[in-house]
Subunit: 186 residues, 2 copies
């Protein structure tokens, strides 16, 4: 029904670019870099394939642009140092059940192994997650401790993706809190 309701969209470079970026954000987060085709992104953005190349140079460039636009995790790391393990635990517990709401980790969880985007993913993981966490830690081995805590977060996501989601129980949150406490203890 309604054969030709495709009312013309005003030509707007910036808006189109943003639609593509948004579509890529969603799809990369849901399926990972390799599984998502440029055609699928263009279709989801209701834009022409060639525009992806025009505005972002390449698929890898688009991916990098997606990462750049993502928010950081500063809300996780700010606040009382004492409560940090529990905040991380609650975050990780969510990750047992759902993919991240914010696509950045969702995207990084996957995708990070493709040679073309590995560097961008690594850089982003360091600057947005690992670095800020390390900076909030006092005491020795801050680097190693931050790394271990982030490893746990990554591992929770890996488990969900591989084996399947699991509803976190209050006991899980307690356990995770103890785990992060062990990770971060100085």
């Amino acid at each position: 029904m309604n054969p030709q309701v495709t009312e013309a969209r005003p030509r707007d470079r910036e808006a189109t670019r943003e639609r593509i970026l948004q579509a890529a954000r969603t799809l990369f987060g849901e399926q990972g870099y390799e599984q998502v085709t440029v055609r699928a992104i263009a279709a989801a953005a209701d834009a022409n394939i060639a525009l992806v190349g025009r505005y972002f140079g390449s698929k890898a460039g688009l991916f990098a642009a997606v990462l750049q636009g993502e928010p950081t995790f500063s809300e996780l790391f700010t606040g009382s140092r004492e409560e940090l393990p529990r905040r991380l635990a609650e975050y990780a517990a969510q990750r047992m059940r759902h993919p991240p709401d914010s696509p950045i980790l969702r995207t990084l969880e996957r995708s990070a192994y493709h040679p073309e985007v590995a560097a961008a993913a690594r850089e982003r993981l360091i600057s947005a997650v690992l670095g800020p966490l390390e900076a909030t830690l006092s005491g020795p081995d801050a680097h190693a401790r931050a790394r271990m805590a982030v490893s746990v977060v990554l591992g929770i996501g890996a488990m969900r993706r591989r084996v399947g989601p699991e509803e976190p129980t209050p006991a899980d949150v307690d356990r995770l809190t103890a785990v992060f406490r062990a990770c971060l203890a100085d």
Copy 2:
């Protein structure tokens, strides 16, 4: 030099099949399912491409065969329950530095997200790692506790692959021991 030393190999279906399997084991472990082409496997095995299809049906079939041939991790899970966290910690600490010697986790670490092989990878992770560990645990929540410990192992590998290897220190092993203790505590 020596332009034609290619002395004929005796025709041996089983040996050729095994060469392909071994090459696939190595390459999948090093690079992951998607990065490895059937042509590369055949070349590494010094066999013809068509033989891969002939002996294993498809690339996914070859991957499944690789997984089947891998040893389990029973040595990690047998032995004193008291020492289990430290054994896991030592294993995980190695994983901070090196890819697994046994290609199975190396292969599962990667590859596990490709739709064609996700099911096989999942099944193998459960039957070879998650199940045995859960079986050794007593007390409540054995499932959740095993899952959490394996998540940490997976996360350590993910961190190494994404950010880079790190030489584990004795302090790291201690920290990991505490982490696994927290994971497995009943």
